[in-house]
């Protein structure tokens, strides 16, 4: 395996690459949140715990950071919950 930087994975859960994120950030000059929604980076199984800082820094190479706002919003549940336990069905 010999990958170029553009093929390098940033979001491991959704397999979103560096190239894909960089191009999207450049094309739409978008916020971290928009970058996430456009690419699905940070929307996988781990909830973005692993890649959020990287998605954030790719977005902030073209847009200004607001230090008073979390750029990538956290939403519950912060750990995967099965439909069974959501509906409180006992196993």
């Amino acid at each position: 395996m010999d990958l170029s930087d553009n093929e390098m994975i940033i979001c491991r859960c959704e397999e979103v690459t560096y190239g894909e994120l960089k191009n999207t950030a450049e094309t739409y000059n978008c916020s971290a949140r928009e970058l996430k929604l456009r690419t699905r980076a940070g929307m996988g199984y781990c909830g973005g715990r692993t890649c959020r800082s990287m998605v954030d820094s790719i977005a902030h190479s073209s847009t200004e950071r607001d230090v008073t706002q979390v750029t990538l919003k956290y939403q519950p549940p912060i750990r995967p919950v099965s439909f069974g336990s959501l509906g409180e069905i006992t196993k």
């Binding site: 491991r12 859960c13 397999e15 199984y45 781990c46 715990r49 692993t50 995967p80 099965s82």
Partner: protein, 112 residues
């Protein structure tokens, strides 16, 4: 080959006598009671714990403390269990995560 660190220059010696047997993808594996499933598998030289559901690329532990969910396996029929947080028990049935039959990501390139 990876192996256990039984003796350590600073830390206490490991008690490696309380052995349990479990299965991983139908193969019989020995581990130490209550150690993490990820540790028991690594001690048996097993690094790949699942493949990515769509691309099929192999994955193993990454963060080892429950944050990244890369080590998720199926334990006694329950999917999405983190091997790094699960204590090994006698008779456990463990299987690795597999590739999905139908890709669901194709819409992206087709519908831009």
């Amino acid at each position: 080959m990876t192996s256990r660190i039984i003796n350590h220059p600073v830390l206490d010696k490991v008690d490696d006598t309380d052995i349990v047997t479990f299965t991983y993808n139908n193969a019989e594996i020995h581990g130490l009671r209550n150690e993490s499933l990820a540790a028991a598998l690594l001690a048996n030289n097993i690094r790949t714990l699942r493949v990515h559901e769509e691309s099929g690329t192999p994955r193993g532990i990454y963060c080892n403390i429950g944050h990244c969910f890369e080590c998720r396996v199926t334990v006694n029929g329950l999917q999405g269990v983190r091997a790094c947080l699960t204590p090994v028990q006698e008779g456990m049935t463990v299987s690795s995560g597999e590739k999905f039959l139908t890709p669901v990501k194709d819409w992206r390139s087709n519908n831009e």
